[in-house]
């Protein structure tokens, strides 16, 4: 397929403007560019065909099965889109919230924010939540800033280190570092879960908290969370819950009940708002009693029958414009209302059931990475296949020829030649079976024709890309 620049013909235009018939209002010279912008010169139909054809090559959960592990890529129900597009939400000007005089016009939006925060708190057993963070990692930053505020208020500035298990979500160390903490990694046991002993071994008086993902990025539920929470609290350290894998336990277990003090949710994962490359995301932060007064603000509060804005007593301040990505709060609210309590419980149940169904069908053909029961995603190691010349990457590429998005490969880093499959709850048994059939066929082909994998994929718009060259010879001409 040609680039749109390659379709450019000098002088061709989509729109021809009439000659100027009003006085020319020139921009200041310093704001004017010296050379004409290098834009493609094309007719309207060229533009339409170019982008329509590009869109038909798009690959997404609306067109195909997308079993990307570690990052819940689930279907976004269209009812949530319809609700977000209601004019009362979609056309509400955010600036109305900035003056108390206009608050009467914001009551519906305020109520939605208030209710969504309340329900998120209920789902995870938190005291309060705040919808301001606009991405998962932004939620992590909010959470770690809250941990810092807590220790600062107590005069414990020496608590400057965060513990992070090697099975935690990948963004945790970066978030903690940006919040000003030092990071110390805690190794997990060879069975893939955390042990209290390794937390004890890493404990010093400088430990401010520990960030945990549960189920962890090995797809395993952490059996000693409660013991770790109790131990941390004895040492005045807080326990952070990364909500990356909340989908596995929603409606079944609540981080607050397990002893977590602070957490973030990903509305773009668990609550089915759009995900990936521009989502936009939403990473609300939730807190227990200890951290409530530090929450970002302003927050929506209920005064009698009306809603108003208030800054928490010792707020860490504002973390985003207005109230985060409001449209995502609307979608998540619609999703929760649509499913109800029972429906949300079934989300968690079916997410785990589907992952284990795939695991049961593939476990004899591929090597499981761990012996413990998986939750919402299952992980295999392609180390034995790699010895035959077929790496995890080759298996992932081969799946593209079957019409499936590749699973996550080479993550978690603790598993060699890792293949991580997360089907989510929305897929039918027929879809799961067809995917497993493809994986089993690939397993057979690894035995009979390992060399054929190096060309895969062959049926996609572009074949095997040279990833090494792309990374080494980065062309930043567009920056």
């Amino acid at each position: 397929m040609q680039l749109i620049y390659e379709k450019s013909v000098q002088g061709r235009r989509a729109i021809t403007l009439d000659p100027l018939d009003v006085p020319d209002a020139s921009l200041p010279r310093e704001l004017c560019r010296e050379k004409a912008a290098e834009l493609p010169e094309v007719a309207e139909i060229d533009v339409i065909r170019h982008f329509t054809n590009l869109s038909r090559r798009n690959f997404g959960v609306d067109s195909h099965f997308y079993p990307l592990g570690s990052c819940t890529m689930k279907y976004n129900p269209k009812i949530a889109e319809a609700v977000a597009a209601l004019p009362g939400f979609g056309q509400l000007h955010p600036q109305l919230s900035s003056s108390e005089a206009y608050w009467p016009l914001c009551q519906g939006a305020f109520e939605l924010l208030y209710e969504t925060e309340k329900w998120l708190a209920e789902i995870a057993g938190m005291k309060q939540t705040c919808l301001q963070p606009i991405a998962g990692a932004h939620g992590e930053l909010a959470g770690t800033l809250l941990i810092a505020a807590y220790h600062r208020e107590r005069g414990h500035a020496h608590k400057d280190t965060i513990l992070i298990p090697d099975s935690a979500h990948g963004t945790n160390p970066a978030s903690a570092a940006i919040a000003g903490f030092k990071v110390v990694e805690v190794p997990s046991h060879e069975d893939g879960t955390m042990r209290l002993d390794s937390v004890k071994a890493a404990m010093t008086e400088n430990i401010a908290g520990l960030m945990m993902t549960c189920p962890n990025t090995h797809g395993l539920f952490e059996p000693v969370v409660a013991e770790i929470a109790e131990y941390l609290h004895q040492h005045d350290a807080l326990l952070y819950y990364d909500g990356a894998n909340l989908n596995a336990i929603i409606g079944k277990a609540r981080p607050g009940d397990l002893g977590f003090d602070v957490m973030h949710y990903n509305l773009h994962k668990t609550f089915a708002t759009p995900h990936g490359m521009g989502g936009p995301g939403s990473g609300p932060v939730g807190v227990g009693e200890r951290l409530e007064k530090f929450l970002p603000g302003p927050r929506v509060v209920k005064r009698g029958e009306t809603f108003a804005l208030e800054m928490p007593e010792k707020s860490i301040g504002r973390l985003s414009q207005f109230f985060g990505n409001f449209g995502m709060a609307v979608r998540a609210y619609a999703y929760m209302r649509h499913l109800g309590k029972d429906g949300l419980r079934e989300v968690g149940e079916n997410a785990v059931l589907n992952a284990n169904y795939i695991f049961a069908r593939l476990k004899d053909a591929y090597t499981p990475a761990f012996d413990l029961p998986f939750m919402h995603e299952c992980i295999f190691t392609a180390a034995p296949e790699a010895k035959k010349g077929v790496r995890a990457l080759d298996i992932a590429k081969a799946l593209l020829d079957y019409g499936y998005h590749a699973p996550t490969v080479y993550f978690p880093l603790t598993v060699k030649e890792s293949i991580m499959i997360e089907p989510t709850e929305t897929e039918s048994r027929e879809t799961l079976d067809a995917f497993c059939d493809a994986m089993l066929e690939i397993a057979k082909k690894i035995e009979t024709d390992p060399d054929s994998f190096h060309d895969a994929p062959t049926t996609t718009p572009v074949g095997r890309l040279d990833e090494v060259r792309a990374a080494r010879q980065l062309n930043c001409a567009c920056l």
Partner: protein
Amino acid sequence: MSQYPNNCKYTKEHEWIRADGAAYVVGITSFAAEQLGDVTYVDLPKPGKEVKQGDSTAAVESVKAASDIYAPAGGRVSAVNDALADAPEIVNQSPFDDGWFFKLENVNAADLDSLMDADAYEKYVGAQH
């Protein structure tokens, strides 16, 4: 005989360190380079930086992963391998020689005692994988 050079000491994180005149030179092992796959980028420290044993001192990225490189011993960074900036593939081609990362001077000799020799490292890698 170990398949790893006997004149180096090794860390559990797969760095090697060996004497180089009055200084010490540091890199990653062939095992680490193979595990990482094709190296695409290397982030090196500024000469003069003081490091303690175990400090994250450099970083390496491949198509698969990004990893920190830890100082096998405390000391001061005296030189870095600028050739890696334009040709990170040297790390894969020659991990123990041309693919070195940085040199350390004023090395804390006691730190070296805690490291593995070639035989111990070979056993460690074998046991782990």
